[in-house]
Structures are given as structure tokens and as C-alpha cells.
């Protein structure tokens, strides 16, 4: 039995018909082709599928799509404004905060959720903020430096 799902992703409203068993990550990747969000461990451990839902970071493999009905979702595709990268994306580039890139979308969205909550996080809060994201290229320190640079105001957000 298909059910109706209405939600807003990166500012764009969508109306879909989905099976109740569908996870949010499956709607994003398979139905909408938003493959920036990665599917890693598939059991809520790695953080690669992190998106921002109503302002807060969540793991999209651990949310039933139907329970996102009415929600505002931001995925990594929604960070840049046109050709202008988001401050976090610029800082990740400048500080080499990734190697293979598989964790990057999730890392960026966790950092976005962190900065929504704490615009000027302490080093401890930054560490806590990416506690739910695993990077197997050991890029953590450069990620911390990138987030610090953004919170210092080194990068201006395009309005």
C-alpha cells in the first residue's frame, strides 16, 4: 500500500507516493537522485547518511521517510548557493578536510547541525559535533580546523 509523503528538501517541496517501509535515505538517493547523501553502514553507526532535518542533524538511514512528513530537510546538495560553495565546503577544501570523500557529505551536515546549535562552538563542542561520523582516512584534525575557521568568521556566507 503506497502512502503519500509531503516534505521540503533543499527548499523545494515534494509530493511522493512511497511504501511505508522506505527510509529517508532511500527517498533521497533512489527516488529523488540526491546521491550526495551516502549510504554507509546502513545501521546508524557511521554517519555518512547524515542530513539536517528541521535544523538538526539526523541519520537518514534511521528515519522512516513517512515520519519526515512535513519536515524541512537539507542535504549536502542544499549547502551551496548556486555556484557559490557554503563556508563549510570552502573550509573543507582549504584545510584538506577529506581524502576519499565518502564521509564528507555526512561530516558537512553534522557540522551544519552543530553550527545551527552553536554558531561559535568550543573545540570540545566541535569534537562532540562530529562524534557520530566516522572518517576512515583519519581526517579528523583537518575537519576540526576547518570548522574552527568557519566559526572564526574566516568564510562569509553568501546570502
Amino acid at each position: 500500500m503506497l502512502k503519500e509523503l509531503k516534505l521540503t528538501i533543499n527548499g523545494q517541496p515534494y509530493e511522493l507516493s512511497i511504501h511505508p517501509r522506505t527510509l529517508l535515505v532511500e527517498v533521497l538517493r533512489e527516488q529523488l537522485g540526491l546521491t550526495g547523501t551516502k549510504r554507509g553502514c546502513n545501521e546508524g553507526a557511521c554517519g555518512a547518511c547524515t542530513v539536517v532535518m528541521n535544523g538538526k542533524s539526523v541519520k537518514s538511514c534511521s528515519v522512516l521517510a513517512l515520519s519526515a512528513n512535513g519536515a524541512e530537510i537539507t542535504t549536502v546538495e542544499g549547502l551551496a548557493k548556486g555556484a557559490e560553495l557554503h563556508p563549510l565546503q570552502k573550509a573543507f577544501l582549504d584545510y584538506g578536510a577529506y581524502q576519499c570523500g565518502f564521509c564528507t557529505a555526512g561530516m558537512l551536515m553534522s557540522c551544519k547541525g552543530l553550527l545551527n546549535m552553536f554558531p561559535n562552538p568550543t573545540p570540545e563542542q566541535i569534537r562532540d559535533g562530529i562524534d557520530g561520523n566516522i572518517c576512515r582516512c583519519t581526517g579528523y584534525n583537518s575537519i576540526l580546523r576547518a570548522v574552527e575557521a568557519v566559526s572564526r568568521g574566516d568564510y562569509k556566507e553568501t546570502k
Binding site: 511505508p20 546508524g44 513517512l66 562524534d131
Partner: protein, 290 residues
């Protein structure tokens, strides 16, 4: 892939209770889903009906009444408790516990009511709630009942909730003066579940003897459990390091741990012994400071 199910998304408690009554033979309640979705995906649970209560806004609250204590709605997220300004005095341990629970994403989505209803003996909130003397309120279409956390915690992934019932509120009594509480867990990776966890709540009398103490163990038995033999050793006495050591030993003996991939039974008993003494000492020093 998850086996398909019928999905219901009630927006009020009453709508939810009607659905629980109607589908009482085969349903699962989902709140934040941070535990349930894993079980669904592994095929360990294949419910015909899933009742999603996350949209019931009336169950998302933290209320403080100085005299009566704290009331937490079942659908309050871990994150809300972690950063709530109402977590003061001996309730501060709740915010400290939430900070140790899993990862930010899970705490943003998961709820305290969902966590304890899941009945995992390694869950973080249950031992802390037990040490603080919490009661839980269960509701069904026919009415409400209130249980304490020991009555609620029955067995491995099993609570006292009957078909047709759901958890709606957690009630924490206001602690007497000179009460302190502390919690710790041992695990290998910071965001993991506990290998063993211990919560302790100590109330000191005017002469600094132990007027009351509640110690609760996580992942040390098929359910979160009170360490009553350890408590009995401390009650009425002046708490010294020697006495704490004895209490730790008693807790280690009354625990019923299993061996699994995280630790052997013997290792868990050793953890219970050490952590019981350590956490109770911290609770006592907080009771003195408070």
C-alpha cells in the same frame, strides 16, 4: 529490506490509544526509531502495523515543580534533556547521562521514552532513572497506571507494558536536601552502548552518614537492576573508602552479567565492583557539595 507494514501517524495521544486498542494483536510503536529501525532492517521484528507516535506534540515536554520534582514527556528527545536548564542539582546527572548516550544525530532524533520502552539492559537512561527513584506512567484506552522503574524493567528487551499500553510520562521525585547523583559507563568506543554502567544517588544525613542510597546497574543483568545488597552495606553508615569497596564487592556478587562480544561475565563483575565504588563516591561528594 524491511518487510512492509501498515503505517499510522496519530497526532494526539487519544488517537494513538485507539489505534493500540484496535491493532493490539500485531503492532509496534515507533518514536524516534533509533533502536527499532535497526531491528526492522535485521528482520528481527516484522510487525503488520507500525504506529508512529513521534508527531504527538503533547508528549514532548519537561516540567519542573520545585516541590514535586520533574515530569518528562515520553517523546522528549535526548538532546532536549541534555541541554535543558531544568537539569539542576541532582537532576544534572540526567543531562550528563544524555551527553554520553550514542551520537548527536541519535540524540537529536531519539526519545527518552522510546529508549526505556525498548528495554535494552545496556541503555543509558534506565539505570539513572532507577537511581533517581523515577516512576513511569503508562496509558491505555481504559486508563493509566504508574510503575516504578524496577517494576517496569522485566527482562531482556521486555518491559511491564501490556498490549494496548504506551509510556507517556516519566516522573522524578524532588530529591531531599544533601542529595547527589552520578553516572558512568564503561565502553570501548565513546558512542557505544555500555559494557557496564552504574548510576548512584546518595542522600546524606546531618551527621554525614548515609541516610539513603540507590545504586542501579546497566548491562550487568538481563534488565537494569538495583544493587540492593550494596545499598544495604552503605545505608545508615558513614561512607568510607573501605565501606565503598565492600559495597562494590556486594554489587559485583548480586549482578547477573552475561558473557558476550563486548566482555566476559568475569570482566563485567570486575567493572561493576570498581564502578559502583567510584560512582557512589562521586555521588557522595556531590551530596556534600549540594
Amino acid at each position: 529490506m524491511i518487510k512492509d507494514f501498515e503505517y499510522f501517524g496519530p497526532k494526539t495521544l487519544n488517537e494513538a490509544l485507539v489505534l493500540l486498542d484496535k491493532y493490539r494483536d500485531d503492532y509496534k510503536i515507533i518514536a524516534g526509531g533509533q533502536s527499532l529501525i535497526i531491528l526492522l532492517r535485521q528482520g528481527l521484528l516484522q510487525p503488520e502495523n507500525v504506529i508512529d507516535i513521534y508527531g504527538i506534540k503533547e508528549l514532548d515536554y519537561i516540567k519542573s515543580d520545585g516541590k514535586k520534582g520533574l515530569k518528562i514527556g515520553a517523546l522528549t528527545t535526548h538532546r532536549e534533556i541534555e541541554y535543558s536548564e531544568l537539569m539542576q542539582g541532582s537532576f544534572k546527572v540526567l543531562s550528563e547521562m544524555e551527553h554520553l548516550l550514542s551520537t548527536p544525530q541519535t540524540r537529536n532524533r531519539g526519545t527518552i521514552g522510546g529508549n526505556i520502552s525498548h528495554g535494552d539492559p545496556a541503555g543509558d537512561p534506565a539505570p539513572v532513572l532507577m537511581a533517581l527513584g523515577a516512576n513511569v506512567k503508562l496509558a491505555s484506552i481504559t486508563g493509566e497506571r504508574i510503575l516504578n522503574m524496577e517494576e517496569f524493567s522485566v527482562d531482556y528487551f521486555e518491559t511491564a507494558m501490556e498490549h494496548g499500553e504506551m509510556l507517556v510520562e516519566i516522573e522524578l521525585p524532588a530529591p531531599p536536601p544533601h542529595t547527589g547523583a552520578a553516572y558512568t559507563k564503561f565502553n570501548i568506543i565513546a558512542s557505544d552502548m555500555a559494557t557496564v554502567s552504574v548510576a548512584s544517588c546518595v542522600t546524606l544525613a546531618a551527621d554525614d552518614t548515609c541516610a539513603d542510597v540507590r545504586i542501579a546497574l546497566g548491562a550487568a543483568a538481563p534488565r537494569p537492576m538495583r544493587a540492593k545488597a550494596a545499598e544495604a552495606i552503605l545505608k545508615g553508615k558513614k561512607i568510607t573508602d573501605a565501606l565503598l569497596k565492600k559495597a562494590g564487592q556486594a554489587a559485583s556478587e548480586e549482578a547477573e552479567p552475561v558473557s558476550d562480544i563486548s566482555a566476559s561475565e568475569e570482566y563485567r563483575r570486575e567493572l561493576v565492583k570498581v564502578l559502583t565504588a567510584r560512582v557512589t563516591k562521586e555521588a557522595m561528594s556531590r551530596a556534600k557539595a549540594g
